[in-house]
Subunit: 298 residues, 2 copies
């Protein structure tokens, strides 16, 4: 019994096939360049083509899920806008993809998809309550309560990247000031580390570059404030940090843990594990497949 | 079928009896001065005496709940410390009250009790997901997900008063800096308004005193930041603001709503109602009774 998971990213689109029985496992992974500059129609053609090929090769696929970034209107199956993909204002993404694939598509925010994947197959396994941060070009998140992904207000629960962690901080793309995203996203770390990308800052940090090390120290501490606020609200067993930036591992997580303990003095935070995600760059696609599978089963 | 709810407050102890059938209703309310300076043993004697009288008068009471402030160890039935009551470090409050009353006592944090009461009988009725703030001498809170009170890490989910809303802000009693409690508690409003109590500031504000009005404007805006962060995390239908400070009503809630809209640009926050609690000063006792009743039923 298989589900397909599609992940619409600013740089790459990805598809995975998930065999979900007692123990779900990923049986296929494919990716292609997004070419976001070509606009939504062309991007959806690429993603649908990739998915259709994988599905055809797999035989029976029961459910298809799509993870997409940015504010979504889950009720109407639309993207409202996408921070890193031009032209996606108010696109009826579910109807468009269903027309291309000839089957039902279950939509979910990409960070919530990552959360679901880490919960069921990754670093969040066995957790009852879980908070997940996804640090990439933007910063997203997800919350799990009683073993269930929390959707909230039209699927927007877990928008942890837009928590205010400094009321007078940098202006964010969303319109607010001092969002976590302005301190702990890839571009924020690149800026603080004085390099073109967060990957380059990470490489420099591993060679002992002081400015690069300080950039992760600072981003980790800011992340720690956001973790503390989320932990105070939800009281989870574990906090999972995923997305490309999480490749920095302890360079980011150690200062985050230290800040959590410094900030949150009213909970037994020593019990809350703060760990890196384990599923890597296909986490969003895997989560989208799990989401689609759960929609069918319920 | 009745449950008794006990509320241990710094100024008053309260007891209510709740007749819980299809539609629970409060059938009795009693209160007495806490005399916190006399220490835990004396305070528990007063509270147990008040409860025993009410229970004896009521006839059959099936469940007894106790709401208490401060960090609690719910698993072991202990208070860890209480911010506004001296001498309550590591008191086995459940065992002590059970010995005095000769019956089982279900312990819950007082702000979580208020949340439960507002959910079932007050301003949160009909909500699936709810966030509640309790603004008094301290600031507490509670979170409801899928119609259920969220407990989290040993019952500490919902500690919204200790969210960091300004990383370089005032030192808090908990050891952190910039907690919401330092901006929106009764003492914080008294300080900002230049009066002895928040009640006096409220009176002055109603007479048009500019400093008093500014104190509520500021506290409301800070509350709005904390509301935004909690709404981003949980995505609730409604936010309920209770506790003594909520008597300020729109003086506090209007700036809070304005700040929520200014801060949270990635969710349909226009759908999130921010309203005052409706149950008044017995909300904690009512919630403790509901909590005890729910423990028996499950």
């Amino acid at each position: 019994v298989k589900a397909a998971g599609l992940d619409l990213g600013g740089t790459n689109v990805k598809v995975c096939l998930l065999d979900y029985g007692e123990a779900p496992r990923v049986v296929e992974r494919r990716s292609a360049e997004t070419h976001a500059e070509r606009g939504p129609e062309a991007v959806m053609d690429v993603l649908a083509g990739l998915a259709a090929d994988a599905i055809a090769a797999a035989g029976a696929v029961q459910a298809v899920g799509l993870g997409a970034p940015g504010p979504l209107d889950l009720e109407r199956g639309r993207s409202l806008w996408m921070p890193n993909l031009p032209g996606w204002n108010n696109v009826p993404i579910v109807a468009e993809m269903e027309a291309r694939l000839g089957r039902r598509v279950a939509l979910i925010n990409d960070s919530r998809a990552l959360t679901l994947a880490e919960l069921e197959l990754g670093a969040g396994r066995g957790c009852r309550d879980l908070v997940c941060f996804a640090l990439g070009t933007g910063v997203g998140g997800g919350v799990v309560v009683n073993g269930q992904l929390l959707l909230g207000l039209n699927g927007t629960a877990g928008e942890l990247g837009h928590q205010t962690i400094d009321p007078e901080g940098r202006r964010c793309g969303c319109g607010n000031r001092g969002c976590l995203e302005q301190e702990a996203s890839g571009p924020a770390i690149a800026r603080a580390g004085g390099r073109a990308t967060a990957e380059a800052v990470l490489e420099a940090a591993r060679s002992g570059d002081e400015r690069a090390l300080a950039a992760f120290e600072r981003a980790g501490a800011k992340l720690g404030i956001a973790i503390a606020n989320a932990v105070l609200t939800v009281g989870p067993d574990r906090v999972v940090v995923g997305g490309g930036v999480a490749a920095a591992g302890e360079l980011l997580l150690r200062p985050a843990r230290e800040e959590l303990v410094r900030r949150d003095r009213v909970q037994p935070v020593e019990r809350v594990e703060v760990v890196a995600a384990t599923l890597g760059s296909y986490a969003g696609a895997i989560g989208a497949a799990l989401w689609a599978a759960s929609r069918i089963r319920t």
